[in-house]
């Protein structure tokens, strides 16, 4: 970034980001210093990419005009704790209205690729058109700025995500990598391809410990473009943090925000995996396609039970003290860590474990490992599989595909493998399309075409307005269980104001664990912006920029053809409520109808401006 002001909210045009546009058809690369239009542009991530996507009218995800935008946030590669994020944006192959065009989406990954990318001097890379043959792309720091080169990727074809990264590591020292797997290469049959970003730990240990940009099929779009991997090569550029940033970082580790994610031996809650323990007392852990049975089966995957047989390591991305990864290894006879099996984050573990009727840690780990190596979004894959298993349980006389049902590990494993290879497009295309083909959409746990993360929709009507899938973009997921909120006023306020602020982290380059309770409009973020970039931004300006970015996302959905009726929740939740969930029942049609009217009434007051901007005004 070239920064010629201290006031990014009022003088955004005095801030320039470095963009490279790669025409994959011709091989031409152009570099520009682009002046920012507003604070969203300055912050980066989807705040910027959605403005560029809004300028394009895309009716099919797989077309030359749909770009793949790779960018970072203002604090990616900075000394602020968690400043690791890379964002991948484009029109999604998987998220689409029932009838209509694909929808703009972004997907974020940690690991160290984002920081390395930023340290090459580039802020944004835009891929146009598609390459005729498979390529990978190297971004390095040249003498007078970043350089982008396209190389043949014939030798990477068909390899797993991790194997691609390991191959490239042999050729590129001091580099980090982003790679798709076979799923992304089979983009026609698999719309839920993910992108794996390398971690230091992975490159050092040789174990497949990537972090993933999973949501929205950005790996499939990358596959369509015939780009199999990205290499970001540069020196590390981290000086010692200033005293202010040091204090912020300490507060991130010791303060309330990240404590639940800290390792258990440091007094923390042990990563997102701990959500099992919190939701099980309410019987709210999704089981067998979001139908908890009121029994204690989910407890089999509690940490205290898994650690009887496995070795658990708490690890982190480069320099991050939150240490949120819980990696499961086999246990050697002497108690030390044996072979690495998988990461146990809550969503992959639940959606590829308990929610498929798999309650064995080794089996769940095997499915997560396969999903990661084929390069699929664990949420989309897990939810689509659970739909299929549920269909088969309801139709034993005419089951689909290999006839798998809940808990049948060998058959479920076969489904994952064959989906990743492109042999089961019924699954690879996601739950909405599969449910359209069966004619039984009521128990497809998706909203607006994107599968729900592992929180029961009964506990979160806010899902309906999330613009990038569940809790990642509508932080209302804990409101009922954590706060006991059952009144409409609280829900309207949360959906239309406070909780949407969670998407701010997908602009600025930080993980939401930086300050999960408060969003990016906090003193800690302001301190980092001042110290790292000499920028003075008020908390109110940050909140406004995040809100504007969210509303732009919402109108982009409407422009692509969503009807108001699609802003809803899976019908089963309304019509066949689960008797085992021990939470107050706010998921009635009446409650939701009133909530919907009030939420739209608030949003509508502000949407006009954005409807004009994205060219959707009547």
């Amino acid at each position: 970034m070239k920064i010629l002001t201290t006031d990014p909210a009022r003088e955004p045009r005095k801030i320039f980001y470095k963009r490279a546009v790669v025409d994959l058809k011709s091989g031409a690369v152009t570099y520009e210093d682009v002046p920012c239009r507003n604070l969203e542009d300055v912050l980066g991530g989807f705040g910027r990419s959605f403005q560029d996507l809004a300028a394009r009218h895309i009716t099919r995800a797989y077309c030359d005009e749909n770009p793949l935008i790779v960018n970072t946030g203002l604090l990616t590669g900075s000394r602020a704790m968690t400043g690791m994020r890379t964002y991948f944006s484009g029109y999604s192959p998987i998220k689409a209205p029932q009838k209509g065009a694909p929808t703009a989406i972004w997907s974020a990954a940690s690991g160290k690729f984002g920081a390395k990318f930023k340290w090459t001097g580039l802020d944004e890379l835009v891929f146009e058109n598609r390459a005729e043959k498979p390529v990978y792309v190297v971004i390095r720091e040249g003498r007078s700025g970043p350089l982008v080169e396209i190389k043949s990727a014939e030798h990477l074809r068909g390899l797993f995500t991790h194997d691609k990264i390991m191959r490239l590591q042999k050729e590129y020292a001091d580099a980090h990598f982003a790679a798709i797997g076979p799923a992304g290469e089979n983009w026609e049959e698999v719309l839920m391809g993910a992108i794996a970003c390398s971690t230091e730990n992975q490159l050092r240990s040789g174990e497949d410990k990537s972090r993933f940009a999973g949501r929205g099929g950005m790996g499939s779009l990358m596959g369509y473009k015939n780009v199999l991997a990205l290499v970001a090569q540069s020196k590390d550029k981290l000086a010692a943090p200033s005293d202010e940033v040091k204090r912020v970082n300490l507060n991130v580790i010791k303060g309330g925000g990240s404590l639940r994610l800290q390792p258990v031996n440091r007094g923390g809650g042990g990563g997102t995996w701990g959500a099992y323990d919190v939701m099980q007392p309410f019987h709210a852990v999704p089981v067998n396609n979001f139908r908890p049975q009121g029994n204690d089966l989910p407890e089999k995957l509690f940490r205290e039970n898994v650690e009887k047989d496995y070795h658990i390591k708490s690890e982190a991305c480069f320099r991050c003290g939150i240490t949120c990864h819980n990696n499961i290894h086999e246990r050697n006879a002497d108690g030390s860590a044996g072979r690495f099996l998988a990461k146990f984050d809550y969503e992959p573990l639940n959606l590829l474990g308990t929610n498929l009727g798999i309650h064995d840690a080794g089996q769940a780990a095997a499915l997560i490992h396969l999903c990661d190596n084929f390069g699929m979004d664990a949420i989309s894959l897990g939810v689509t599989l659970s739909y299929l298993l549920s269909y088969n349980a309801r139709h034993p006389e005419k089951p689909l595909l290999n006839g798998a049902t809940f808990g049948d590990f060998p058959k479920i494993k076969e489904l994952v493998e064959r989906t990743g290879r492109g042999q089961y497009p019924e699954i690879g295309q996601g739950s909405m399309r599969l449910a359209q083909s069966t004619g039984e959409p009521a128990y497809a746990y998706q909203v607006k075409g994107l599968e729900l993360a592992a929180y029961q929709p009964e506990t979160n009507p806010g899902y309906a307005w999330a613009i990038a899938g569940g809790h990642m973009s509508m932080g209302t997921y804990g409101m009922l269980i954590r706060e006991g909120k059952t009144d409409l006023d609280s829900w309207v306020q949360a959906i239309t104001d406070d909780k949407l602020q969670i998407v701010g982290f997908d602009m600025i380059g930080l993980c939401k664990f930086f300050d999960i309770a408060k969003g990016i409009g906090t003193e800690m973020v302001r301190t980092c912006l001042r110290s790292e970039h000499g920028l003075e931004v008020s908390a109110a300006d940050l909140r406004t920029a995040v809100r504007r970015a969210f509303l732009r996302g919402l109108v982009l959905e409407l422009r692509q053809g969503y009807t108001r009726e699609e802003y809803t929740l899976p019908a089963e939740m309304f019509d066949d409520p689960n008797p085992h969930l021990k939470v107050p029942r706010i998921g009635t049609r009446e409650f939701f109808q009133e909530l919907s009217e009030r939420v739209w009434a608030v949003f509508e007051e502000e949407l006009d401006e954005f409807l004009q901007e994205v060219g959707a005004a009547e």
Partner: protein
Amino acid sequence: MKVRVKLHGVFRRGRFKEEIRDYPAGTRVVDVVRELGFSDQLLGTVIINDMHADIEQELKDGDCLMLLPLLDGG
């Protein structure tokens, strides 16, 4: 007074799952939390007799108190 205390998640480590415990009248949830030695920052949800409650709430004889760690998605 007697209060049934149920702990969940990491709060159980080195403690107990469920116990009936004796407290003097006027004991609040926060007093129980301090006595058991958790960090308030890790405490996410307080339930008394199946209802969400506040950390400052006073307990009564025969109450069932459930303490859960923070829930935040990942």
